[in-house]
């Protein structure tokens, strides 16, 4: 019998098909490593620093090397085709019943390795930890700009996941003058739960997942990865710090390698179980509070940052776009079982 399951944070119902559940082998493999033979010359490789737009915003470099030259481990540059422009004041205006803001924001690319490697799963742990440091540095810096409310950190791996023609491993950061609606739903949902229970909803979810154990994919060094109860997509996973923390950018230096370790483990499991599938990673963290100080009063206690990992195995049909209502053909318990048994 199929089931309706409700996401406890934002209240979205999902149909989970428990009969005819689809296993990894039921999905037509769409291997990213076999994508597109015609790869343009890579502008992200070491030695090609002059092919990305200046300036180099941030880099972890060998001592003695200069910005914009080789000798780096991670490099952050402006996007070649930014969707938002960094210069200018935020101007809000109304057009009849509609609201408009001019497109001010930052759009940055984090190049995760000097080598031409595609999948983050194939990077060494230290290299993933370097990327995490770059993410944190950039979010902290952008958070000082009072024009911005949120920095959206995400990664598109593979064409089906929306990656462009450049296949060299990278993630993106977009700082915006508004909060994305999904995040707002989460913030409001977790605040309501906190008002009622005086506990963080994500801490409660982690506790229940650890008690039942059946949706856990990995539990390593203070981080946990599980397939959420109301997964929208087959093999969807969330990665959270077990210790309560609302703001990703407050992750201490010594915990970054632990996060890198669990990320490498789950991405490798995903790669093996589903034959190198396309995926998206999205960070959900507390918004910048400077522009609206006092509004998010209890956020440090009620919100819990996490990474959402979504493999792209099925086409999303129209009614899912239009209704915000999903049908997931693989129960998260099955997904977690396959993934947890997979050797990393």
């Amino acid at each position: 019998m199929p089931e309706f399951r409700k996401d406890p944070v934002i209240g979205r119902w999902v149909i989970v098909a428990t009969e005819r559940a689809r296993r990894p082998s039921d999905f037509v493999p769409h291997s990213v490593s076999e994508e597109g033979a015609s790869e343009p010359p890579c502008p992200f490789c070491e030695g090609k620093e002059d092919q990305t737009p200046p300036p180099e915003i941030f880099a972890i470099r060998n001592p003695g090397t200069k910005p914009g030259s080789p000798g780096w481990q991670v490099r952050v540059v402006p996007s070649v085709s930014p969707v938002l422009k960094i210069e200018g004041k935020i101007e809000r205006h109304g057009r009849g019943i509609y609201d408009v803001i001019n497109g001010v924001g930052a759009h940055e690319i984090i190049i995760e390795t000097p080598q031409h490697i595609y999948n983050m799963a194939d990077l060494p742990e230290e290299q993933i930890a370097n990327s995490i440091t770059a993410w944190i540095e950039r979010m902290t810096d952008l958070g000082r700009d009072p024009r911005f409310k949120y920095a959206m950190l995400f990664k598109n791996y593979g064409l089906a996941a929306g990656s462009g023609k450049i296949r060299h491993a990278h993630s993106q950061l977009i700082a915006m003058p508004v909060n994305p609606i999904r995040l707002k739903d989460e913030l409001v949902g977790s605040r309501q739960y906190f008002e009622y229970k005086e506990r963080c909803i994500f801490c409660d979810i982690i506790k229940q997942e650890m008690d039942t154990g059946k949706r856990i994919v990995a539990d390593i060094d203070g981080f946990i990865a599980f397939a959420p109860f109301a997964s929208r997509f087959p093999f969807e996973m969330w990665v959270l710090p077990k210790k309560h923390s609302a703001d990703f950018s407050s992750l201490p230096r010594d915990k970054r390698s632990d996060l890198a370790r669990i990320l490498k483990v789950v991405l490798t499991k995903l790669k093996k179980a589903l034959v190198d599938p396309p995926y998206n990673i999205i960070l959900h963290t507390a918004p910048f509070r400077m522009p609206k100080a006092g509004y998010w009063k209890t956020i440090d206690e009620d919100f819990h940052w996490h990474l959402e990992i979504m493999p792209r195995l099925t086409r999303v049909a129209g009614f899912e776009w239009g209704s915000g209502f999903y049908i997931n053909p693989t129960p998260p318990e099955d997904a977690a079982k396959y993934l947890s048994e997979m050797e990393p």
């Binding site: 019998m1 309706f4 934002i10 509609y98 929208r232 979504m310 009614f319 049908i327």
Partner: protein, 332 residues
């Protein structure tokens, strides 16, 4: 330069590219590959589908035999089961329900190769009457709260069969997007005592730059806050919350505008895959003053960037003003 626009219906922000906007020719056309094999939806193959629920047929023909114009059947691989009681359960902090619901397929016409936009007006009307009839029937079932009617055309839009068809799902819950629309519309109404959709329609009729087609009872326009390139919406001009209350003359006008806009889209965008979805009010007795039913049409142009999933934040490279212009200008 881009612009951030906020959807007055859901509060969602969308980034719309203005300066480097993509025109129809900037998108690669999707290749259509005809599928081989026997089509279970073609006349003569009625036995390959579950027994029909409803059909418009020639006078002297029998159910599950040829001679029909529009045929409604249960989905052979339903996402939900129609038999059983609704059981709500709590599992620790999680809430769930058993998967009760109806999942039906509306086979729009007997001809495998004629899509909605290729049909005669009257044939499209019959499809719409089928939608309405199924809604009225399913509304009587106390277990259901919402009826979702939608169509997936083309592989990129999730269609698994080629023969022209739409689908209907009756649900014991209200989908999240609908809840959001209802909540925002209610708030707007509380403040202004007017329907936000009616206000939107007025503004679109005044400004005209996003209007694609219009007739006596309906208007089609590219929404000011389009999430997708060439997305458009069809609204009844007179306030009505619920699709199934549609009147006879309105069915005629809706069939005409639906056919016309789908045809414009097919010609302007080289037969793209698309989805449409009917947004109507939940099943309840009262006719809402704050909600307004509509059909959302979304061609699948290009790929989504990925972060839309996790954030509900969209990036649209084609402003609706250009989309509407391109769809309006195409000669039929």
């Amino acid at each position: 330069m881009a612009e951030l626009r906020r959807d007055p219906i859901t509060g969602r922000w969308v980034i719309i590219e203005i300066d480097k906007a993509k025109n129809p020719t900037d998108y690669e056309a999707e290749k259509r590959v005809k599928r081989e094999g026997i089509c279970p939806f073609c006349p003569g193959n009625e036995k390959m589908t579950p027994p029909e629920i409803f059909a418009y047929r020639d006078g002297d023909t029998k159910p599950n035999a040829p001679g029909w114009q529009t045929r409604v059947i249960p989905n052979k691989f339903p996402a939900l089961r129609v038999e059983g009681n609704l059981d709500r359960i709590g599992v620790g902090m999680f809430d769930m329900m058993n998967g009760i619901g109806a999942h039906e397929v509306i086979i729009e016409n007997p001809d495998h190769n004629r899509e909605l936009c290729d049909l005669m007006d009257q044939e499209v009307e019959q499809v719409l009457w089928s939608y309405r009839n199924r809604c009225l029937d399913l509304k009587g079932d106390k277990r259901f709260k919402y009826i979702l009617i939608f169509k997936n055309y083309g592989v990129s839009a999730g269609a698994s069969l080629e023969h022209p068809h739409s689908q209907l799902i009756a649900l014991p819950i209200i989908p999240k997007r609908v809840v959001e629309e209802l909540r925002w519309a209610e708030r707007y109404f509380e403040y202004r005592d007017r329907c936000v959709f009616c206000d939107m329609i007025h503004q679109e009729i005044d400004e005209r730059e996003r209007v694609i087609a219009e007739n006596k009872s309906f208007i089609a326009f590219a929404p000011f806050v389009s999430r997708f390139p060439f997305e458009f919406t069809i609204f009844p001009k007179i306030h009505s919350a619920e699709f199934s209350y549609i009147q006879k003359e309105e069915v005629v006008d809706l069939a005409r505008i639906l056919k016309e806009t789908l045809l414009r889209m097919k010609l302007a965008l080289k037969d793209p895959s698309y989805n449409f979805i009917v947004h109507t009010s939940p099943i309840d007795a009262k006719e809402r003053a704050d909600y307004h039913w509509h059909i959302e049409v979304m061609p699948r142009m290009g790929r989504s960037a990925g972060f839309e999933w996790g954030t509900g934040f969209y990036l649209n490279p084609t402003p609706p003003e250009i989309a509407a212009w391109a769809l309006r200008e195409v000669s039929l």
